[in-house]
Symmetry: C2
Subunit: 416 residues, 2 copies
Amino acid sequence: MRADIISIGTEILMGELVDTNAPYLAAQLPPMGIELQRITQVSDDINMLAEVLQQASQRSDLVLTTGGLGPTDDDLTREAIAQLVGETMYLDTQSLTHLQETFRQRGAAMPNANVKQANLIPSGRSILNARGTAPGWWVEKDGKIIVAMPGPPGEMHPMWETEVQPQLRLHAPGTVILTRSFKTHGLGESALNELIAHLFHLPDVSLGMYAQAQGVQVRARVRAQNNEEAQKLLLPVEAELRRLLGDYIWGVDDQVLEEQVGKEMTRQGLTLAIMESCTGGLLAHTITQVPGSSHYFKGGLVAYTNEMKIAWGVDPALIRDYGAVSPQVAQDMARSARERMGTDIGIGITGVAGPEELEGNPVGTVHIGLAHAGGTIHFSRRYPSQRVLVKQRATMQAMIELWNLLKGKRDEEAGV
Amino acid sequence: MRADIISIGTEILMGELVDTNAPYLAAQLPPMGIELQRITQVSDDINMLAEVLQQASQRSDLVLTTGGLGPTDDDLTREAIAQLVGETMYLDTQSLTHLQETFRQRGAAMPNANVKQANLIPSGRSILNARGTAPGWWVEKDGKIIVAMPGPPGEMHPMWETEVQPQLRLHAPGTVILTRSFKTHGLGESALNELIAHLFHLPDVSLGMYAQAQGVQVRARVRAQNNEEAQKLLLPVEAELRRLLGDYIWGVDDQVLEEQVGKEMTRQGLTLAIMESCTGGLLAHTITQVPGSSHYFKGGLVAYTNEMKIAWGVDPALIRDYGAVSPQVAQDMARSARERMGTDIGIGITGVAGPEELEGNPVGTVHIGLAHAGGTIHFSRRYPSQRVLVKQRATMQAMIELWNLLKGKRDEEAGV
């Protein structure tokens, strides 16, 4: 089964909104054996929208759209689909009742504009929206399926999970696509490519790699008639990749570094406290994205000034002698966070996020300290980029160093 | 001038990577008078890529691509463009020298794989990549321009800014597109729509609105032969929108709430300290995304346990009597952060990010306290969603309340 995804909204074409719906849906399709042909983003323009729908439905058996189902005058997805299949919309009384009920529960009167959200066409049925007013559309005509879902991710995700995906499974094809991704850190793209180049031209296996903030990701993908055959194709490649990349791998598939770290903290029964300067809260935010992180993360200090660092236990002599942006202060921040909050591990980060250099240290300079029962270590980096990226990369580096510490991969690093 | 954007990479179609390049480029085009027709995302498949390029170059005068310029075997953008224009690639010695020099400066040997990054076609010239190994391509043929840029945003952005955009300005068309966006908070999409419905059918002006985490954004867009005419069309609509939405507007165009707050803090010479629980560092991270925030942001505490809250000055009796997730504790966190760090304003956030409820409080419960010279106030919300969204929304709400406080818009709110 071949699919197209269409994200609809002038705000996307104007660059005002980053479309996260297409990536969400794209990730759902391979395990269902559905092959994504293309993602298209198009504005709320009835003619362009109709053209994109036309092309997508010629190319694919399944067209998934998000956006353009709102109550306002620039929401035109329903109109465009009706035009594509050549049908006239009518007011669906069941949808209207549900819509009125939704507003009643919110204790609000239903604005007139919302009435059009209860429109439907003869080939369609409406899909329940548990989180918002816009019902989706499921349209089947001439062997093609068109599914229209609302744009807000908070509405679209539950609609996909509870309504659309289960229905699509009934139409699922006989083939299966399996992928395995290895998330690595410590090797560049070219170096990795040379390590695994001989696997690139294997029959039945497609290999890909791409660089991201957490390191380079290597992905193997196979397609077969059933799960068993797909496994048979994937397993030897997977084993070979593990053999070649072993030490550089920190996770597979959709594993996220902070979750891997969290699992390892929990498994070892360890606790963590941090004091961060240039990352400004991003390290704490990253750690606490993990459900259950309160079991091992005790607290964080965002010490944006020297007085705060000192008030929270950093030795003023170190700041005086080495400067606030120094390996010594990073280590002392780690030590102090660990001691004051009584945890097994402490992390300290100090550096220069920009826009200006600090005490002669250029933007991008970052020192990371780790304090644990075995002593205190540090890592120094210089990132060649702007504020937002310095915060991101320094945070990622701190998580990688914590991971290495937990896995006993590294005991110390020489220096600056 | 009409344009298409193509983002290339199997990782995008597999849902493993969110494409931020297309929105970045999309936002650059309207001020240059370039009208974006469509954004397409396609995998590293030479046939699909060629088809998308073919369609885009038929539809548009300008095709911008990102991705697929890397050194690995699945990087095929150069090949697809060569195929589109029917030309054969040759090794460009100037690019090769530059490539070798880049590796020399990094103190690394150039892997063989990278040689192909120095390929070129007769209709093309290479574009300098100041941040990476892959040069871009600028191809002009049959009145069409195709510009291929690398995928990593850290390489693409500087290439666009210093090389591509200045060149494109020379081809700039005679028409100008102007937009004005108003960022609002406090009114729903339907309610806003009813307020401004009469403006939707104005000639020459296209109006749009969409809901996002920071509230609903309303955008007016005009197109004219020159800047003066465009201004003449836009100004009355802008004035009318300001009149209708006045109190709900917190910013315009690409203004970001944390930057607006930062400017206002600086203007009033105020300082800020925070203590956050359920947002886990995201509030501090958001505040410190702003360059220069160190001038007003003194520090943040991520108090993930009751002991930490108490160690940092929260009254244990309040936690005992009202629970850690209570308006009283939120206000005391704000008070304590303000007093301990000696700032003008303190913010406290406590709540339940999930996955489990806490002390009988359901997931999504959030209390925000603000302490300032005039006293202490609080706001309570209940967000109906999962961990990541609770953190985001609570952070955004805290920033909005801080904004309202700074603008003297609100003195207090009744209660839970």
